[in-house]
Symmetry: C2
């Protein structure tokens, strides 16, 4: 009989942690070479383009490690990047993750991060194929880069909206800071189903707030505007809860709070009519307004009065 | 005549900086969609695999911003990632960069970083296709993810070394901390030329130090060892300069200092003989020893005495 092994008093080092992660990482059919070499190797589907995005999350800004725990941070870091791939109507394939860990709790934090990343990665068929681990006496920083591939008719950008197009969103908006921002549901299946059914004109995921993100579409499409129907904008119950806290109307939260990670979809009027007549069962779509040649974002209330909405989007540098 | 414009007293915001970067970024033939959408889109060469790596650099660890300046940091962040693509014998194609900037000097730092990244990117035909900018009151963190593609016979991993193989390096080693570590020369052309000429058995770039990185090859190749000829190991003049400072022998610096970013190449004995008889003019290669079935790294001095070298590699978590 072997003696019970004593726990190692030292915290695990870099190579032990990499081994730990490697043992818990499953490859997908796209993975030619995963964690453990100078770089990872992936085989994308023949004829597809590579679609890539990166997002860096910092303790105190995008999450609060002590409150939220490392698993939630890992989940969010992976999910927000998958959401950016969905926003191109592309298919997520693989991810690499670089982290700076708080030195004192490096092992515990990296395990939690990995568990959260692995949860959402498995859900979306994403392989974690590489990364970089560092530690310091500062706060946790997590940087995930997602690799995806175009499918079918190719990617959908922000820049194809036209006057007269119809604007949809995929779910209720506002108040995500109450907790939803930590567990976004990237709308990959919705984006792929819509892109297969119609030639979408523009697509974005709502990370800075509907007003700001729709604003990006309008600006990138040549300086267009939009008229939104206030009563049609789906307001999340969290936005109403925020109103109880800060007195700002729920519609303000729905328009300006970020990190909903729903999609904002712009479709030509004929396709939009066909879609309304024959909805795709798995895709929740709410029509909220129309693209206009007049620049600026306007909101029409139930009485027919319109007012201009100034996007109060978040500037990450200020 | 227009009046001279007054300088904007506010520091530039996120979107102004992104515009500034976008205006300075040139696409390459691989770029389908660059900076400015939810994700970038790249078209790799037909039949090639995607090769990807990520590295995060922190102020105080990998550079000292106040001393080195942001341009040197940008250069290093891009170059070390290109070196990892070279270490797979792959061709670098594009990069995304995520940064957390010190808030007070965000604009100045991001411009310097970009200049440094653009310099090395242009040199290697790499397109900067996307990124993420944040700011905080903490130190600068830079995370670059490189995207490359396999060529010809495909990538070369760490795991194909065999007993009897010959070990080469591409340049002198040690003492890079005296400044060379900020301006590495990724050995892309060398790796591609070697991979075209011979079926290389294993390849790595020397970032943790020759002993540690050759150790990775030997471990990943099934627990092999190596016998190195001390007199054959090319010692950089910086290693000698370090000896004047710390009294440690130059060979210790050559074996254990990191961030040389030369390649360590393992080639079968027949190919190695052919290569020595007919060197590739553009590739500097120094033969330093041989792979052995006996595990461990041994060093043989001029008198024929051998001693065991324990890799003193850097643990990024400790």
């Amino acid at each position: 009989m072997s003696e019970p092994s004593k726990p190692d008093p030292r915290p695990p080092g870099e190579f032990e942690l990499i081994r730990w992660i490697r043992e818990r990482t499953s490859a997908t059919p796209s993975t030619v070479l995963g964690i453990g070499d100078d770089a990872a190797v992936l085989r994308l589907s023949q004829g597809s383009d590579l679609v890539t995005t990166t997002d860096m999350l910092m303790d105190g800004r995008h999450f609060v490690l002590d409150q939220d725990g490392p698993r939630a941070v890992g989940f969010k870091a992976m999910a927000v990047n998958i959401s950016d791939i969905a926003a191109m109507a592309a298919r997520p394939v693989a991810a690499v993750a670089a982290v700076v860990l708080p030195r004192k709790s490096a092992a515990e934090v990296v395990r939690g991060l990995h568990a959260g990343m692995a949860e959402v990665a498995a859900q979306y068929g994403v392989a974690l194929v590489g990364g970089d681990t560092n530690a310091w006496d500062g706060p946790l920083v997590v940087c995930v880069t997602l690799l995806g591939e175009s499918v079918g008719r190719g990617v959908v950008t922000r820049s194809g909206a036209k006057a007269g197009d119809i604007i949809f969103v995929t779910g209720p908006l506002g108040g995500s800071l109450l907790g939803r921002h930590l567990r976004p549901t990237p709308r990959v299946a919705e984006a792929l189903a819509l892109n297969e059914a119609f030639a979408l004109h523009a697509l974005i995921d709502i990370s800075d707030g509907l007003a700001a993100d729709l604003g990006h579409i309008l600006e990138e499409s040549g300086g267009l505007g939009a008229l939104l129907e206030e009563a049609a904008i789906p307001v999340h119950s969290d936005a109403v809860a925020m109103t109880h806290q800060d007195g700002r109307p729920p519609i303000d939260h729905a328009l300006n709070d970020g990190e909903d990670f729903e999609l904002c979809v712009v479709i030509g009027p004929e396709d939009a009519s066909r879609l309304e007549a024959n909805p795709i069962p798995s895709v929740n779509l709410i029509k909220i307004g129309q693209v206009t040649s007049t620049p600026g974002l306007r909101l029409r209330d139930a009485s027919g009065q319109t007012r201009v909405v100034e996007p109060a989007g978040f500037d990450h540098l200020r």
